[in-house]
């Protein structure tokens, strides 16, 4: 399978204080595919994901070296405007965190801060992306109700709609189904499989079955080191490295 690169990580190191969370990571994330980052807890999966939209910046005593190229631009270049980078990526966190406002305002928040004021246009955007996240039918009669009243599964789809509404190129998911029930997880996974036609998707997961269902490309991390990466059928079915084999067989977790 041929891959076109969307995000290119080059010699990325991340330190939290003295602890080295990522060690010299170099990997290319393919365009318009689902890349799944797997590995045992504490291996740096989330750190790698949060480097892409530079949310690592907001953590204390963090030091980053290396480069991450997005559309040919190094996102860690001090000249880069951080809000501009983040606008290109939607983030789904482990537990959905709707903003403290109505369902409508949650989706409209992104477009509004990026300058869309017109009511008609905002209404169109909200409807469009709620439909894309397959939430519209459940909330169309209560768009002005607080988002916090939705179920967890609905909240996660709302967060997806909210992320899509800023028209990103990339969707980042940090174990996005870990707080959801099986039915809701399935709906989110279904969305990912449809969305990958238009978006590059990067998901962190510790559920191997989920990786098998979704992944086109797999990145395996262990204790901050990149052990192996490649097309899903290679890594998940016939890994080369001993460590990957053991992880997939469930010996290390």
């Amino acid at each position: 399978m041929e891959f076109k690169t969307h995000i290119s990580v080059q010699n990325l190191d991340v330190f939290y204080g003295k602890e080295r969370a990522l060690k010299d990571i170099t990997v290319d994330i393919p365009d318009k595919k689902i890349t799944v980052i797997i590995g045992p807890s504490g291996c740096g999966k989330t750190t790698l994901l949060k480097s892409f939209n530079r949310l690592v910046d907001s953590m204390d005593e963090v030091k980053v070296s290396g480069k991450v190229f997005l559309d040919g631009e190094n996102i860690f270049d001090p000249k880069v405007e951080i809000t501009h980078i983040r606008k290109k990526m939607g983030l789904l966190s482990q537990k959905p965190f709707p903003l403290p406002m109505s369902i409508y305002d949650n989706v409209a928040y992104g477009p509004r801060i990026h300058g869309i004021k017109e009511k008609k246009e905002l209404e169109r955007i909200v409807e469009h992306y709620l439909k894309q996240a397959s939430l519209w039918d459940e909330v169309k009669d209560r768009l002005y109700a607080p988002a916090s009243r939705l179920s967890l599964g609905q909240q996660q789809r709302l967060c997806l709609a909210r992320g899509l509404a800023v028209e990103p190129e990339i969707i980042l998911g940090d174990e996005p189904t870990s707080a959801l029930d099986p039915k809701s997880s399935q709906r989110i996974e279904q969305r990912f499989l449809e969305l990958k036609r238009e978006y590059t998707i990067v998901i962190v997961t510790h559920i191997l079955r989920q990786a098998m269902r979704l992944a086109d490309y797999v990145v395996f991390l262990y204790l901050g080191e990149l052990i192996e990466h490649g097309p899903a059928e290679d890594i998940l079915v016939d890994p080369k490295e001993e460590m990957t084999k053991e992880y997939i067989k469930g010996i290390i977790s």
Binding site: S58, R86, S93, L99, G110, S148
Partner: protein, 283 residues
Amino acid sequence: MSRRNIEENVFKGLMVVSTLIILSTLVLILATVTVKGLPALNLAMITQTPKGGYYLGKEGGVLNAIVGSLYLAGGATLLAISISLVVVLYLNVYAKKDSHLAAFTRFSFDVLWGIPSIVYGAFGFTIMIFFGLRTSLLAGIIAVSLLILPIMSRAMDEVIRMVPEELFDASYALGATRLETAFKVIARQALPGILTAVLVAFGRGIGDAASVIFTAGFTDSIPYSLFRPAATLPLAIFFQLGTPIPEVQDRAYASALILTVIILIISVVSRILTKKFTKHIVK
């Protein structure tokens, strides 16, 4: 009975006694003020300013002090909000968690909180002299706002610190700046707590006598300018209690009752508003 059972019961007893002490204090204060003040309370008390000879038992009321207190506490609260909110958002959104400046600022609030209000009054008075100001509503507002600033800031800081990290990230991930995140998301999430902080501070401000005695002064007319002296309820109570005439002393209790009712109304309103704003809060 086993040792652990005894411990359990002794502690339960202590809790009941402590709770009773607090409740009975509240009930006793309310009862004293009501029993002594209610008979002296009449329509004239809240609709008229002191007429000639009021402090000797003649006609009039304390409308000057009611209006003065509301202006003064209201103005001081507004001034304190505009400073507190900015400082607290700075501490929680901009400053790093391990920042020395942030730690020092929080420490300063604690120290300022402990300073007696008469010191704020004296400090305000010194500043007034420096700027050549006379006792005025404005000077009173400034002194009271200094007094309530640490109370308000500390209370706001506590609630904003409770906002989960992920909520910041959710907003940042959408490309929001820190400023947008601070005002559109964080302040909103913490709104009920911020409101409580504001009203606690207002209650403290309206009830304080020592900080206004040198700064706002006292007058028998309703304040109509920021640069004129203003009467306040705590001082009205103080002056009326200080007279040897029993009827005027009763009016002091009536004034105290008015002040208590104002604070009670504010507490109830704040409860209702807090409930109303809690619906959007993300847990």
